[in-house]
């Protein structure tokens, strides 16, 4: 258990963190595009 838990915590942080960051980046770009469309 000493190594099992850190292994899965690491995987969740890396994969979940990357997915969350990607979605946030995409939302920023979509917003920027919409703002440019309005101006």
């Amino acid at each position: 258990m000493t190594y099992l838990v850190p292994a899965y915590v690491f995987a969740v942080l890396v994969l979940g963190g990357y997915l969350g960051w990607s979605l946030r980046r995409l939302r920023e770009l979509v917003r920027g595009q919409a703002e440019r469309g309005n101006s």
Partner: protein, 229 residues
Amino acid sequence: MTSYYRAAAVAVALMLVAAGAIFLFAPTDALQGPVQRIFYLHVSSAIAAYGCFGVVLIGGAVYLRNQSAAADRLARAGALVGLVFTTVTLVMGMLWAKPIWGTFWTWDARLTSTLVLWIIYAGYLLVRRLAEPGRQAARIAAVVGIFGFIDVPIVHFSVTWWRTQHPGPVIINDALPPQMLATFLLTMACTLVLAGVMTAIRYRIETMLDEAPLAAGARTPLVHREPAR
């Protein structure tokens, strides 16, 4: 936009199902104990990374053939997602190795070739980031991506080509009990879906950056931004 969120939610839900199978359905290994459960995501991540690097190979080859900006974007997306999965593979492997081998790292053929794979694709992304944007950077990166893929079969077959400390193939040798095999196949399928979703989102980001490089706080264009001829 909403479809990307929906796809991400489905991928996360599938990974939770896989986690349920890993921790609740799969039996505890009699020899290694609970730490053997690292195997399911460790191997699945490695296979997802191979797939992503296959995307880089195909994208790079198509780009060199017809200068397709879409192929170049696909290659960029595959390289980044593949690097994320290779990082997970390496670190999970190290955390499995410590209690089993007594050390986090050994210069074994499988471990070393996987580290080389990580360095190759980190180099690929570095080329994209540091090289002058344009066709030249895309061409160099495509060549790195194509030649870099040579390491994928080396990683895969290293355990059969050389005497290694790393365990040999357990799936094709029918060495897993049915419950463990079912858990592994489920985890691999869910991980491949997650990798596909991540690549699709990254591809969309790369497309938007190509279309409007200075929009929405985007960095100065660092990679190939020219439309295909």
